[in-house]
Point group: none
Chain length 228, copies 4
DNA sequence: AATGAATGAGTGTTCATTCAT
DNA sequence: AATGAATGAACACTCATTCAT
């Protein structure tokens, strides 16, 4: 199962200006893989693992179907790769937040809003995760990538809670994982079930003012949950 | 889209004579439909709409595949029926709670625990709802059954909040729908993502002590959210 | 793996004449299976297991491709069935020979000629067996059908040899299996390699006079081998 | 299906000056071709023409797939080349036997044993020939190589028979070709059908003592066939 | 001389659905 | 009421071969 074997990296000859003379990518193996991954992500998110069609993924990636098997081995392996990337992207975005220097309450609010916005702006993530859970986590179970990427994922929130407790704004005894899950839950559930929710509650849950209402409710809820 | 409410329940009451004059039990058309629905619910929950196999549904229902088309018209219509039943069951269980005579805080806690337990005991519900949302609610969009069954769904919570506010235990200005969604969210998210969650957080989210921790955290959270 | 499940057999109501009123075969499951088997035999013989095309088999059987999987489960299972039938047919033809009442030498000659003619008239048999041996016997290894059908296959020849030895026309100490194999070999090899043979020996091995020459040579050879 | 006879062989006619000064061992083009041929022989023998995979042949030859097309033109042309080599090797081995100075009976026995051993030690040969015959000899039909290599193939046996007849140990009127074919047949058939044979006769035809039994039976049979 | 990227036509197999009884 | 037979379109995946470097 070859993948990303087109490692060439530092081919910038000394003297060539920084990004300027980017060599046009041999015959574009890397670009093809990227297009396939992107297309696959979209299709898997839209239709689930079973529902997505390899032909469609290939077509939308402007690649030959055969390339998918050449680079990823199978539909399921491609799905795994897509999931790993999706998690990786989220975690990287989380890490970029840099909340350590902010006042704990402000930092927490920022994290809640970030999580909400990430779901809103990356609707694929939610459906991908749902798909994987429908399959009982079979594709990530043995994923070293996910394991390495999700290591120490609670550190940030733990630090934040510790700081808040020390300064007296947060109560003590809060389980970081439970809080983390809750922050995700309040946004995720609303968005993943927006269709049935809109029918059941007879209103458009995705209307801008509804979205605004929801994020404010969530921020307020989380603050209340942790407040001293 | 046939309805066929399939009423039968407790048939042979003690004391009724042998086979007596009891109406000859409409063959077992009704029973067949029930078996199909039950089998379909399980299969759809397990594999999604696309992943479920009509053959398997028929086989597990000990019915002929043709019967599915005879009674329900199509796989999608069957899926719709299954969803309607699933929602109907939840709402009926909710209605049976009878929280009106309880102290507001107690009643709310009871509702949170009920919701959590319902998800735990009816894991099919969660995956069915996920499936329908993957399909953008297409099967329930025009469902009169769902509409009628979900009418006034917030009444109970609204009354509860009003009572709590009047007695001073709940703060004012709480949006019943947002709260309702949050109560569901805190349980639903944890359970629907239990597989990826267990990988990411490196622990068995379904271990009894973990489940206990979670429901207590949820109850505490909701109470904090509404408390005055 | 359903197969031949359309057993209905003794549906001849008492009173209906013997074979006369043959019921017109419901919706012809049996006939379809037969057509598929026959078509498959031909295609497998012509192109081997790997080379045969399921589509072509279906088409030539005037059946839907799906039926192949309905009745036989897979291409390989179909191949197995074809092999079992092919062996069954040969053995049945062998059994019909009734050589017991013939003078040993005459009987042996008859058997040699029969074997040769069977190969000539059933060229499929040879290529099917070659195919199966290319696959190291994987499809017949666990075939109960073959095992049961090939039981006591040497009896006839053993009896024949015993009779001949007693009457003094055959020498003693002849291994029935080796002889059996040799009888087959002398015909089989000539016919299975008729194409390369014709090239190598620069003559048409299938020309009528060549065939005649060959069978006479074989008869003579076998008789010499066993003669006292 | 392009043929592209892939002529390369002996193109440097003796006397052409230019290249004169000993060609510097064409890089390792020659070695690559050899590795490809060897790998191809094995794969074709194992899986047949249709079943062999160009990728696998290339991989096992530690060569690039493209090289196969560069040197041989097509899969079928490669197959042809493999066949030609296989026949060439057998004939060369035959020629090396030098039976002319041996007593006719001894010489014949030696030839029978040689043939058997060659099949045993070169199992590829048998399956290759079977494959080609499955394809009706299409790849060797127009092979000048095979034609030239198989010229006068019967000479040796004809001489041997003549010598034996003259000395009175062999009977007269024996067709050399039929005998040649029979010698091959008795070994070839046993070995090519060893898998189905072992199932049918319920014994391991490849067990050392069984092989011994067979070759002795064959030697004895051939001697009886030709004896005066 | 040698190689990885790319392809289109095809493989066996599966599916929801309809037909005939 | 119930069933086995039948179907056509599609599906994931494969292959020999060619292109570009």
């Amino acid at each position: 199962m070859t993948q990303a074997e087109s490692r060439e990296g530092t081919d910038s000859l000394p003297g060539t200006s920084p990004e300027a003379t980017r060599i046009p990518r041999k015959r574009d193996a890397e670009a093809t893989q990227k297009r396939i991954l992107s297309s696959a992500k979209h299709e898997f998110a839209m239709s689930g693992l079973g529902g997505a069609r390899v032909d469609v993924i290939a077509e939308k990636a402007e690649a030959n179907k055969r390339m998918i098997y050449h680079y990823f081995g199978s539909k399921e392996a491609l799905f795994t790769k897509v999931l790993e990337e999706a998690y990786g992207d989220l975690y990287e975005a989380e890490r970029k937040l840099k909340l350590d220097h902010l006042e704990p309450k402000v930092a927490l609010e920022r994290f809640v809003r970030f999580t909400w916005n990430y779901y809103l702006e990356n609707p694929d993530f939610i459906t991908l995760v749902n798909s994987e859970n429908l399959h009982k986590g079979a594709h990530l179970e043995n994923s070293d990538v996910l394991k390495s990427v999700s290591k120490n994922r609670l550190h940030m929130l733990e630090n934040l809670l510790a700081r808040g407790q020390k300064s007296g704004v947060f109560r003590s005894g809060i389980d970081a994982m439970q809080l983390h899950i809750s922050i995700a839950a309040l946004g995720y559930y609303y968005l993943t079930n927006r269709y049935t929710g809109s029918i059941v509650f007879r209103c458009d849950l995705m209307a801008p003012e509804m979205l605004k209402k929801r994020i404010e409710f969530n921020v307020d809820s989380i603050i209340r949950i942790v407040s001293a």
